[in-house]
């Protein structure tokens, strides 16, 4: 049975429409119709975090989330996290601390780290572990990932402090 349905949503700030079937997952939609491969399906069970994307500001597992659910929603993938000529502070921090080896899990970690820093700009070690415990890294770059989150927190604090200083 094939019941095609047309949905409209915001994808990284751009209004888009897509034709989906009821069983399509968000990952299948992003990869097949929009060529966005930053979020990848790995375990297919919502356990590894590699498929993390944000829907209406909340991180979700793209491998479990049905595509038709994003009708009318705001979807953000890793491809939309950087400005045209500049990586986000979290992305830059991951590079500077060498927070990956193969890179397969990195997009999921960056989205969760961004979510953490949006909610807790100066996270404790326990908050970092709590937010990133749903993401798995087989290369085990966890110490470097923790360092990257802390560096990104400092970068983002600096960004907000500088304009204040200039105003004063």
């Amino acid at each position: 049975m094939s019941a095609q349905r047309t949905i409209s949503f915001s994808l990284n700030g751009v209004a888009v429409t897509a034709s989906v079937e009821p069983h399509h997952t968000l990952i299948e939609l992003l990869q097949a119709q929009f060529g966005l491969t930053g979020a990848r399906e790995s375990c297919g069970q919502g356990l590894c975090g590699c498929c993390t994307v944000r829907v209406d500001g909340q991180p979700i597992s793209g491998c479990l989330y049905l595509a038709s659910f994003v009708d009318g929603a705001r979807v953000e993938t890793i491809e939309g996290f950087d400005a045209p000529d500049q990586l986000s502070p979290v992305q830059q921090a991951f590079i500077e601390t060498g927070a990956f080896q193969c890179g397969y899990c990195t997009s999921g970690f960056i989205i969760m780290a961004t979510q953490l820093l949006d909610e807790y700009p100066q996270p404790t070690d326990d908050q970092i572990a709590h937010y990133l415990s749903g993401n798995l890294c087989r290369c085990a770059a966890y110490p470097e990932i923790i360092a990257a989150v802390k560096l990104a927190a400092r970068k983002m604090a600096h960004e907000t402090i500088v304009p204040t200083t200039l105003r004063a």
Partner: protein, 188 residues
């Protein structure tokens, strides 16, 4: 001022002789041997068998580290991956089929499984037949993690474990056996 890219390319072919298909022998079976050492400090809960790795020190010989930061990450990652093999990762089989082939049933190392403290070091060396004196670093730090932790457990509570993983059940069974009150084996 003019700007541009500097691009270079190079190749390194290790000296190596494939094993003879008849005899399995080779005069030079590997371009280099991997040498590493590890030390562990553990806390053992004798009521549950749970082992906490408080400190893990990893030292490898990778010749001359060509990119020291990446080498450090490689040592750390290799040791942490093997920490999972050592402490809890275990494949279960039923009639030759793996019965826990998913991340729900086979737990790998996550961010909450890190040792309390870790140091990752290299020894100064120069590999005579390697590029710029270097050699492989990738998995060198895996070998010594299991024996270091098993030795630390033996040192702490006097039980000698010779099979992986060193999970709470294995440690607790060994502790009970040592105290003369062994647990029954589970029939699979």
């Amino acid at each position: 001022m003019q700007a541009g890219n500097i691009i270079g390319s190079g190749a390194y072919k290790p000296d190596y002789v494939a094993p003879d298909p008849e005899t399995g022998l080779s005069p030079n079976v590997t371009p280099f041997w991997m040498v590493s050492g590890a030390g562990a400090e553990v806390e053992v809960d004798t009521e549950t068998g749970h082992v906490k790795v408080a400190k893990l020190i990893n030292v490898i010989d990778c010749g001359k580290p060509l990119n020291p930061k990446i080498v450090e990450t490689q040592i750390s990652g290799a040791a942490l991956m093997h920490l999972g093999f050592t402490m809890f990762e275990k494949m279960h089989f039923d009639g030759g089929q793996v019965t826990n082939a998913s991340l729900a049933d086979y737990k790998i190392v996550g961010i909450r499984d890190l040792p309390g403290m870790m140091e990752n070091l290299t020894v100064e060396n120069y590999q005579h037949n390697g590029p710029f004196g270097g050699k492989g670093a990738g998995e060198v730090a895996t070998f010594c993690v299991s024996p270091a932790i098993a030795n630390a457990i033996d040192d702490a509570v006097g039980v000698r474990l010779t099979q992986l993983p060193l999970n709470p059940e294995a440690v607790y069974r060994a502790l009970r056996a040592k105290s003369g009150r062994p647990l029954e084996e589970i029939q699979h």
